[in-house]
Subunit: 345 residues, 2 copies
């Protein structure tokens, strides 16, 4: 199958029932979609255009045997998460796809991948408008385009000493699933399925990001783990932060045997939450006077948020326990975890 | 070297003499550049945003031993060529780069690649505003963003029967260089150097594209060869075309011996021009009444253009010789060439 056939068959969305999966109406912001040298977009008047590119590589960002529909979902979700972190609303995306011959000839795989991609795109009114298909080791590069009033964009560099530090949702479940898939621990089926959903089908927090316009002083999405990504925000804002660890939603890994015992040591559970990665939640800051507004934004977007600490004038990230004692943190790296010995492989 | 160090060191442009190569002033259309979850752009009032993504894979689009500065140039040039084909002016680009360990640790290679990239970007006022760096087989994905008045964009679907068919520059030299680099023929050093420049450092025809706004009825850039790319334009416009082959600039491959004889048979020379690929010239159409305007646009952009045929109501691409006879064309494929036997390897 040639490049153009492949785009036409799997990726060019048509409002007909013959397309490979559900499609959606063209939006008025797309002046010209797939099929020319460029797509043409019309951001609304007064809106800045937000743009972000992410690249996913087989073996690095996903397993070769991943469900292709989940892969299609995740490839777009991680980009939409960048829009969410700016408070931007999606407009459109481009897809550049390098496919090895065995994938390019696998209609079932491509159909499932395209459906996963388009279903999420349709849910957010964000059509595919262009891209490229080439032969090569499997590589997925998506560039997402959105719009946001320039003066209301949620940047990384606006955090102020004294601001509250917030996170959305719960942290660490994606990494817990990865550990289970790697055989590093064994979870009961229901917990594995839930954690795997978090790993493979992250939910971009677009509604929350948009609701936080004019409220949050800074925001970042969590792809590499809270400790690392918050570090970027702190650096950009030239501040530090303190996290009250008892406020971070505790994560547990239940033993699949009848005891239901937590397989994670307390430090392991904390490490998962702080450094797990692949959560695609938002970390953001807002002044304490804005707590009611933050709660209203969370309510309006039906997204849980938790206040986990405070921005400090002194640089660096500090952890504090329930008794107010500073906790030593080795959690800057992605790769350090602590599980109880009895469940280790 | 981590991802963020690598971006900071090689790709984030700074207006200081310590940066790895020449930089340029931030443009007013960039509200926020590298370093946040998204970049923010402000297209000028009334402008549509043009967007295009291209992916280059080692072994497929370039040789592993290619000059990295030329690779940086070409990776951006092929994207800028898409903007040229829409009549759009560049605003900014994102770069997603998958690097194997030996490249990620090769400062000289990365510096040269970044310089080639940034030099072309600076020449067109098109700064890098974001992207991604990951570990993986070498893969370069650039998304370029530009702007054009939506009603003046040079689309593929506007050609009308009776329109003149034009091409810019000369065709076939990039493919001639590829043949020489593959050892399929031997060229004198000066001709090889010139052809190789066309292959490795294509010139995006941005000024011509922009000058053709309001003049050309359709336009496409030539990446896969005139016959193939023109086919896309004809299909989109639901028309056909006739090419007068004696008007296509003849390409010759000089024998490196004292005879200076042309190594290409006439059909081989024509095949190179029609199906060579990698030319990144523009093919465009305009009504015969616009010939003076086309000439003026070519003059204003200092770009040679040649009228090579005409759009026809009947579909398909036909070739006609100087005597008006139809020539049988096997030149739809990229891979068919004809050289004289004596110079074959």
């Amino acid at each position: 199958m040639g490049e153009f056939d492949l785009i036409e068959r799997f990726f060019k969305q048509q409002p007909s029932p013959s397309s490979v999966c559900s499609s959606f109406e063209a939006t008025h912001s797309i002046a010209l979609g797939i099929g020319d040298d460029c797509a043409l977009l019309r951001p609304a008047l007064g809106m800045a255009l937000a743009v972000s590119s992410d690249m996913l590589v087989e073996g690095r960002h996903f397993f070769a045997d991943v469900d292709p529909a989940a892969l299609g979902h995740k490839a777009l979700a991680v980009n939409l998460s960048d829009l969410a972190a700016m408070g931007a609303e999606p407009l459109a995306f481009t897809l550049a796809l390098a496919l090895p011959p065995e994938r390019a000839g696998d209609s079932a795989w491509l159909t499932a991948f395209a459906c996963g991609l388009h279903a999420l795109a349709a849910a957010h009114g964000c059509p595919l408008v262009g891209g490229d298909t080439v032969a090569g080791p499997l590589n997925i590069c998506i560039t997402v385009l959105g719009q946001v009033p320039a003066d209301q964009a949620l940047r990384r560099d606006g955090a102020q000493a004294g601001d509250d530090l917030w996170v959305s949702g719960a942290l660490g479940h994606a990494r817990l699933a990865l550990m289970a898939l790697r055989g590093e621990l064994t979870l009961p089926a229901d917990q594995l399925a839930a954690a795997r959903q978090r790993l493979e089908r992250p939910v971009p927090r677009l509604a929350l990001g948009r609701a936080l316009r004019g409220i949050a002083s800074s925001c970042i999405d969590l792809s590499d783990g809270l400790a690392g990504d918050l570090g970027h925000l702190l650096k950009a804002s030239r501040v530090g932060a303190r996290i009250d660890i008892e406020r971070v939603n505790p994560i547990s890994a239940r033993s699949p045997d009848s005891t239901g015992e937590n397989l994670l040591e307390p430090r392991g559970a904390l490490a998962l939450a702080l450094s797990g990665g692949d959560d695609y939640e938002l970390a953001f800051t807002a002044p304490p006077t804005a707590r009611a507004n933050v709660a209203a934004a969370a309510g309006a977007s039906v997204t849980a948020v938790t206040r986990i600490g405070q921005i400090t004038a002194a640089s660096g990230l500090k952890l504090r326990d329930a008794e107010g004692r500073e906790v030593n943190s080795p959690f800057t790296s992605f790769d350090h975890f602590f599980t109880t010995a009895k469940n280790s492989p």
